[in-house]
């Protein structure tokens, strides 16, 4: 398979991107990579390594879209941006998928405008995987669609199900609707209407409303919500984890030598905890519903994160997730 990589996307680009690419070439067969960016910069990074030259193609791109820029406007103006070039490689069929660690806004807009939606999909959705206490969970959507209709969320559930089934081998993943109460009549206009639709869908293992307090247990595989609420849940989770570990640290600094010894002895446990919360282990977030394999890598991705995103793209491809999503919605139409 062929993957387009935005060589200039992310805080650590192009260094981390290229290092991840080299690691991926060593570990995975049957992957060819197209890297977009200023040829001289990309090539001078590549020159640091020995690798099978025939598996890498550098595609010249002279511009970069920054996260601070207005996504749609920047895409229109900067035709020569590394992300635009990478998206075009998917659109024209040269590549099967794209990975970018750059501006999320530009990535989402670019996937929708350049790669295009799958026929029958109303709105594509960003669906990252997160670590829970008893298992990982996925939230669809975390920010691509801030104002949603109930029918969008039903499609998020269907796309999430196919991805989760294929990627994690879970036969009938459980699906919950993020809501502020368990009962059917709880919530806002959107969740009340969505609940009714989800309940009537055959083929979905719908568990009903899930209160955010229950999400981090990991007991429900897929959580659907509008992108505003999903983003709030995701970022509150990250923020809480960071603050709680911070509070422990603060307490230890201000405490007795005994507590300091305690934390030293707990290092392996805390290391496992941090590993569990390390997004680099999980690759990137798939943008489901667009007509290509589009993976958003974290902005602060390092080489390992990019390598794992390549692995994820490969699994996505080999399991025909895209075809399954297309079939799902072509039946609807």
């Amino acid at each position: 398979m062929k993957i387009a990589i935005d060589g200039m996307g992310g805080d650590n680009a192009p260094v981390a991107v290229i290092e991840g690419v080299i690691q991926a070439l060593k570990e995975y067969d049957n992957v060819e990579l197209y890297i977009t960016g200023p040829t001289e910069i990309i090539n001078s990074e590549l020159a640091k390594y020995t690798y099978p030259k025939e598996r890498i193609t550098v595609v010249d791109a002279r511009e970069i879209i920054l996260p601070s820029e207005h996504p749609a406007m920047a895409l229109r103006k900067k035709k020569d941006a590394s992300i635009v070039k990478a998206l075009n490689l998917v659109k024209e069929g040269t590549c099967d998928g794209i990975i970018s660690g750059g501006s999320t806004g530009a990535f989402l807009a670019g996937c929708t405008l350049i790669v295009g939606r799958i026929k029958g999909v109303e709105r594509p959705a960003l669906a990252p995987l997160m670590p829970g206490r008893r298992g990982n969970f996925m939230i669809v959507d975390v920010g691509a669609n801030v104002d949603c209709k109930p029918s969008f969320l039903v499609q998020f559930a269907k796309m999430g199900k196919i991805y989760y089934q294929k990627i994690f081998g879970v036969k009938n993943p459980s699906i919950g609707l993020i809501n502020i109460g368990e009962e059917e009549e709880k919530g806002n206009e959107l969740t009340k209407a969505t609940f009714k639709l989800l309940k009537e869908e055959k083929g979905l293992n719908f568990k009903g409303n899930i209160e955010p307090r229950e999400i981090p247990t990991g007991d429900t595989n897929i959580l659907v919500s509008d992108g505003f609420v999903g983003n709030t849940a995701l970022k509150m989770y990250e923020g809480a984890a960071s603050s709680i570990l911070g509070i422990i640290k603060d307490e230890v600094i201000n405490s007795s030598i005994i507590s300091k010894l305690g934390i030293a002895l707990l290092k392996p446990v805390l290391k496992n905890l941090l590993k569990k919360f390390d997004y680099k282990e999980y690759g990137g977030a798939p943008f489901l519903g667009v007509d290509g394999i589009c993976i958003k890598a974290h902005g602060s991705s390092d080489a390992k994160a990019f390598k794992n995103a390549i692995k994820q793209t490969k699994i996505f491809y080999e399991n025909n997730v895209l075809e399954d999503i297309k079939n799902e919605f072509s039946i609807e139409k």
Copy 2:
């Protein structure tokens, strides 16, 4: 001052309610308490203690509204419920405030329907205080209003400011709008319109959009949002804290004797952490914008939590928070 207490509200009622009342009588002067509930049950609980009889009045109420009941419907049918009787004591002017650990839905609906809104307030809002890494923060609203207009959120900010100023003595508390991006143009229709309004308000220390990731730092005193997003943030915070401590526990159980020793040495630190996250320390959540001091205690409140809710009601009263909110909105009208 006189406070009405829903004697049957909460998982541990009436035992914990009465115990908290007795503790409060010992600690605080100038407080008289009216307890609603079946007289024989309340009196038999009170009989366990010695206390100044003239400071407690028991008001008979034969019914209880459960959290599973439809709030408005239950309020209409159960005129003799302990919460209804307590709300009426405020409405008729016998009491200055009410505390209930019962059904949140019935409490919010009852405060609005029976006690009534302050003139000029579009929607009252529930505003709990939460522990952050560098300070406590308040979210307005966390569930009273799931579908909001921008003007509601501006009022939430104004009411939150008055409460925070008066209760915590912070002269000009910082105010943030919960949003999925920092920039002004980010967010959904509601936040974009609200940002514009808040920016133009004089007298508010508006810091702009705050991403949920930053909320737990405690660097912003007051966060405004619609009740759905606020509730999601609150419950995700609680859920994350519980899951992270759970993961540490799981890891320790499955780990070496050295880790177990480490956690034993860290006990004082973890105890402080748990204390920081213990809602019982913070009293209850004020329901701002209704024409009385209405405090929602946590459903699982124990005696200490009820005692602290009484303390909080007293501070609310002695600092004339209600009058200040009334003045704020009477100027507007």
